[in-house]
């Protein structure tokens, strides 16, 4: 790993630190890309100022929005393209073209796959009495995948430059995306009854039956009113009703 790639990787862990609704991750991506652009400054110094470096830095901080773990792919690819003297408009088009695929792949692979899968395994571990081992296992396993993905993305982008689309068609990535969905569904499916049993362990008699009925009703409401009713609102509403009932039923 070159020092510049190492610095860029470290900065990628903060890529959403200055997230806003206009440039989205743009500023964070610019900060992560900057170490990879410093060679341009050195090269330009021999032949007339840091204009190329400054122009590349400015471009790197423009609008960008993708999955944070895969931003490195765009960072590496755009930096490589700047080194190869690709016209600015083409670099901008590359960044814009990568937003959608990186967002979609990362959402499927991580937010809807790897993360809920690991979280479900942690829930199962805690429910079965694994305690701290389940938590430490979750952090270790999840982050092994997380850090590997960030590192792979940066390296692939830096290696491929403008041809970075090829990296996204790697069979391993495609297979991981295809497998993570069913694995997540199986694990979360198994975690739900175990978590329910773990949480309702203290309930006896009527309260156990009440949990089953209210949970089924709550699920039906969330499903029927999906997109409108959130779990947070349902939770607050149920707690308000429970507090009212507690006042009346003494």
């Amino acid at each position: 790993m070159t020092p510049a790639l190492g610095k860029s990787l470290l900065r990628l862990f903060t890529v959403q630190g200055s997230y806003d609704y206009e440039r989205m991750q743009g500023i964070g991506v610019g900060v992560a890309e900057e170490p990879l652009l410093r060679d341009l400054r050195a090269a330009a110094n021999g032949g007339g100022g840091g204009a190329a470096y400054r122009a590349a830095v400015a471009r790197s901080a423009h609008f960008f929005n993708a999955h944070p773990y895969l931003c490195g792919l765009a960072v590496g690819a755009a930096a490589r393209a700047e080194h190869e003297g690709v016209p600015p408009a083409q670099v901008e088009r590359l960044r814009a073209a990568l937003c959608g695929p990186l967002g979609s792949l990362g959402d499927r692979l991580v937010w809807a796959g790897w993360l809920p899968l690991m979280s479900a395994l942690a829930l199962i571990g805690v429910a079965l009495g694994g305690g701290w081992r389940a938590i430490i296992g979750f952090l270790a396993l999840y982050n092994a995948g997380h850090v590997a993905l960030r590192w792979w993305a940066l390296r692939a982008g830096w290696a491929h430059g403008m041809g970075v689309a090829a990296a996204l068609h790697q069979p391993v990535l495609q297979r991981a995306a295809a497998l993570s969905g069913p694995a997540m569904a199986l694990a979360v499916g198994a975690a739900l009854p175990l978590a329910a049993q773990y949480l309702s362990g203290a309930f006896t008699g009527w309260s156990r039956g009440a949990v089953a009925v209210v949970a089924a009703g709550g699920f039906a409401l969330l499903w029927w009113r999906r997109g409108k009713l959130t779990a947070l609102r349902l939770g607050l509403a149920l707690l308000a009703v429970a507090a009212l009932a507690a006042g009346l039923w003494r």
Binding site: Y19, I27, D107, W111, A185, L192, S207, L239, A242
Partner: protein, 231 residues
């Protein structure tokens, strides 16, 4: 609760809040991690595990894609554990008495957290606007400064949300605990646990959809139920 414990909880809640979006997204922000650590700080890990499991189920309702707005359950779980512990704590194996009160405090704090993230993003946009000219000139120092200011803003936000949650927990304990009968506590607990289970099931089904994943989900539910029944 001693001042030292309170400060430790505040520091943990701040780290957890910072982890969710800004730095470094290693998922200490997940309730299943944030809860037990908060419990350990309080010397009551079982309450931490119980609230961690409960809010992890709520977390399944959240898919953080694009610029979506969603509640923030990390600092919320820290506040929830603190409130539940103050209200009676846990007996082991998830038998936390104050789980309902903890959930109430946590859900309100989660809502505050979500709103505060939206505000910070607007402040970040304003700061970026102000620096637009120098950014377009390729000034790397301005770029880095802007980024660091964003991280600092998020850390401050996370600290304020955690402080709000911890304060709310103390207030709720003072107002609610003495006023509730055992039946009332049980009702709150039932509401909290039911909402968590409903959130987990509905959130996961939304992710899974009606495709082949649904069969895997059903197989998981059957397997998990069998293990739960056999235990």
């Amino acid at each position: 609760m001693s001042l030292e414990t309170l400060l430790l909880l505040l520091a943990w809640g701040t780290l957890v809040g910072l982890d969710l979006v800004s730095v470094p997204q290693v998922m200490i922000a997940r309730p299943i991690v944030a809860g037990p650590v908060a419990g350990a700080i309080l010397g009551d890990p079982w309450t931490g595990f119980a609230l961690g499991v409960l809010f992890e189920l709520f977390q399944y309702d959240v898919l953080p894609v694009g610029a979506a707005r969603y509640p923030e359950y990390g600092p919320a779980t820290v506040a929830a554990v603190s409130a539940a512990h103050a209200a009676g704590g846990g007996g082991g194996g998830g038998e936390a008495l104050g789980i309902g009160l903890g959930a109430l405090v946590g859900l309100v704090t989660g809502m505050m957290g979500g709103t505060s993230m939206h505000l910070v993003r607007r402040l970040n946009a304003r700061a970026t606007h102000a620096a637009n000219e120098r950014l377009e000139a390729g000034d790397a120092r301005v770029l880095v400064r802007l980024h660091l200011a964003g991280i600092l803003r998020d850390a401050t936000r996370a600290a304020l949300v955690t402080a709000f949650g911890l304060g709310l927990g103390q207030l709720a304990r003072a107002l609610v605990v003495g006023a509730l009968t055992v039946r009332g506590v049980t009702l709150l607990d039932v509401a909290a646990v039911s909402a968590g289970i409903a959130a987990g099931a509905a959130g996961t089904l939304r992710l899974v959809g009606r495709g082949p994943g649904l069969r895997w989900f059903a197989a998981g539910v059957v397997g998990g139920a069998a293990v739960a029944w056999l235990r």
